[in-house]
């Protein structure tokens, strides 16, 4: 009964089975194809176009032809003081913000994991900032930093500290951007670390406790090595995002004061749209792309993350 049913049905009599069998045989390519095609279309075209644009001087007037300048746009990078400022600002921002987020996120995750493990509700509350639209975050902090009626200056006043212009102050603007970014993205590190801590094995800790290892020793010799892959992914994702910081700066400072918060994305945006020089913007974009790819490839190889 069973044999005759499976023997006669599906394969032989169903119409279109030829196509189905073909699809089944090539399933490994068919399942991959849409993603590969979409990404090819959406990345190859922009990349080729960027290379093409980067070696041309493009006039804001669409009727004028593009003028071939070879490596000219790239040579400009070397002597463009604004570009150097933007590069420096991006570096400072990335290093300070990501390091702070990492330390705070890991610390908080360890604390919660040790002292209040079961309160998922509390964990979710602490994760809220990373889910909010960055633009809403930027507006919120703009309101808090407002020099005249902002709440931060009210707190400073109550504590008897000097009032500041925060996002408008030459020395504090980058600090203000970093604080807002840390507020939004520490929860992301926190979430990844919590997930990592939740999957730690128990046995090594029991053995370590028997051997009389202190909590610090346990952390250094067990927790940190176990968390290494999670830490690597968290840092990689955060650095990649920090390198393309835009929203916060766009709303909070617009790059000022005195270019102190002008980061690469913002400068490229200004060059492309305000100064209408897309060729040069393309050259800068390629530079950013290369730096990002080189950094992350190096990092992934070092951390053995690929496959």
């Amino acid at each position: 009964m069973l044999t005759s049913e499976s023997g006669t049905s599906t394969a032989e009599f169903r119409p279109g089975s030829g196509l189905e069998r073909w699809a089944e045989r090539h399933l490994r390519f068919l399942m991959l194809a849409p993603t590969v095609l979409i990404l090819l279309g959406l990345t190859i075209f922009p990349s080729v176009y960027m290379f093409y644009a980067a070696v041309h001087k493009i006039s804001p007037n669409p009727d004028l032809p593009w003028e071939f300048v070879g490596a000219g746009n790239f040579a400009r990078l070397l002597s463009d003081a604004q570009f150097h400022v933007a590069l420096w600002n991006t570096t400072i921002f990335t290093v300070v913000a990501v390091a702070t987020e990492f330390l705070l996120g890991l610390g908080l995750a360890l604390l919660l994991d040790k002292f209040i493990r079961r309160l998922t509700f509390l964990k979710t509350v602490l994760m809220i900032p990373m889910m909010l639209p960055p633009i809403a975050v930027a507006i919120t902090w703009k309101l808090i930093y407002e020099p005249q009626f902002g709440v931060l200056n009210e707190i400073m006043f109550r504590l008897g500290l000097p009032l500041q212009a925060w996002a408008g102050d030459v020395n504090l603007a980058m600090f203000s951007i970093i604080v807002a970014d840390v507020w939004q993205w520490t929860p992301f590190i926190f979430l990844l670390m919590l997930a990592g801590l939740a999957s730690l094995p128990v046995e090594p800790y029991e053995a370590a406790a028997l051997d009389g290892a202190s909590s610090w020793q346990q952390f250094r010799d067990l927790t940190l090595p176990f968390l290494k892959p999670v830490i690597a992914i968290a840092l990689l994702l955060r650095v990649m995002d920090a390198l393309r910081l835009f929203d916060l700066v766009f709303i909070l400072t617009g790059g000022g004061p005195a270019d102190r918060t002008k980061v690469l994305s913002l400068y490229i945006y200004q060059v492309a749209y305000r100064f209408a020089d897309p060729g040069y913007a393309a050259a800068m974009s390629l530079f950013v792309l290369f730096v990002t790819i080189i950094l992350s490839t190096w990092f992934m190889k070092r951390m053995r993350l690929a496959d």
């Binding site: 189905e20 089944e24 399933l27 490994r28 399942m31 991959l32 849409p34 590969v36 979409i38 990404l39 959406l42 990345t43 922009p46 176009y49 960027m50 644009a53 908080l108 919660l112 040790k114 002292f115 509700f121 509390l122 964990k123 979710t124 509350v125 602490l126 809220i128 889910m131 909010l132 639209p133 633009i135 809403a136 507006i139 919120t140 902090w141 703009k142 309101l143 009626f149 709440v151 009210e154 006043f157 979430l191 919590l194 939740a198 999957s199 992914i233 990649m240 390198l243 393309r244 835009f246 709303i251 490229i268 945006y269 492309a272 974009s285 792309l289 990002t292 951390m303 690929a306 496959d307």
Partner: protein, 289 residues
């Protein structure tokens, strides 16, 4: 005897102190996390004159819905929110569908000439491209196909960022699932595709949920691409609508606070509904590396 007791008591006091300072730190973290959200919410219910009050009003003494009326009735923020929603859902559907198939393929099948590793890495590397890099060509691309100011253009653009992410999340998920169950299904007469659909997919549900959640949040929040691709009310998303009220001459704080708070609310509600998947999804999949 007494000495042992003293030592015991001392270590207990120490234990209590450590516990207290841990709770205190967590409390501070909670206050710092929640205060800015409270502040924008509170300001959205104040009259302009109370927003500018010095010293600030910690609570809206004279609450009003004026700014909500302004943002959602007088101005098209509801339209922006609907656009954001449609774009986020569209992007998530496309990215999760294709990303899941590609992730499964990369986790389960073998390819000639080490393709698997190469393709995996290439797919991830497309995620590294800073949006600012692809904006100018994408703009021209959409211009050429007459797609500027459409929601489809935004869905296409956002898919470029979400698809690699979805593929990698799902790939690490399927790698963690035991392959034997699918093999058993095939032995029982199911096709390869059937085994994926009926066996692997249901098992990967937490991974699917986590991936979809992240795609939704990323698309709902995106700003830069939308800023450049859309200029009309029919296509602009909520973040652009909000940013548009910070002008060179005036910042409409009340209205912005109302719209900003309303942009946060659905995401926060959503986060609480799916919180289980969020942590579990990450701890099972992507994080393992």
């Amino acid at each position: 005897m007494t000495m042992a007791k003293t030592i015991h008591a001392r270590s207990r006091t120490k234990e209590v102190l450590i516990r207290l300072s841990a709770y205190l730190t967590i409390l501070v973290a909670l206050v710092v996390t929640l205060f800015p959200i409270y502040w924008i919410a509170s300001n959205s219910f104040k009259f302009d004159i109370d927003i500018f009050a010095v010293p600030p009003e910690w609570l809206p003494v004279n609450p009003t819905l004026k700014h909500y009326d302004q943002a959602f009735i007088q101005r098209p923020f509801l339209r922006y929110a609907l656009n954001s929603f449609l774009v986020a859902v569209g992007t998530t559907m496309v990215s999760v569908t294709f990303g899941t198939m590609a992730g499964y393929a990369l986790a389960r099948f073998s390819y000639p000439w080490q393709w698997r590793k190469q393709i995996s890495f290439w797919i991830l590397s497309t995620r590294m491209m800073p949006p600012i890099v692809s904006i100018i060509p994408l703009y021209l691309f959409f211009n050429y196909f007459d797609m500027l100011n459409t929601k489809s253009a935004l869905i296409v653009a956002y898919t470029a960022f979400n698809l690699p992410f979805a593929t990698w999340m799902m790939k690490s998920y399927f790698q963690d699932l035991p392959v034997e169950l699918e093999e058993a299904a095939i032995v029982d007469g199911d096709t390869r595709w059937g085994a994926f659909l009926h066996v692997a997919l249901p098992l990967a549900r937490p991974g699917l949920a986590a991936t979809a959640i992240f795609c939704l949040i990323i698309s709902w929040n995106e700003f830069l691409l939308s800023l450049i691709i859309t200029l009309t009310e029919q296509s602009q998303t909520l973040p652009i609508g909000i940013a548009g009220r910070v002008t060179q001459y005036n910042t409409y704080w009340g209205e912005i606070s109302a719209a900003g708070f309303m942009a946060c609310v659905p995401i926060v509600i959503f986060a609480f509904i799916v919180q289980k998947h969020l942590v579990r999804g990450l701890s099972l999949g992507a994080v393992k590396g």
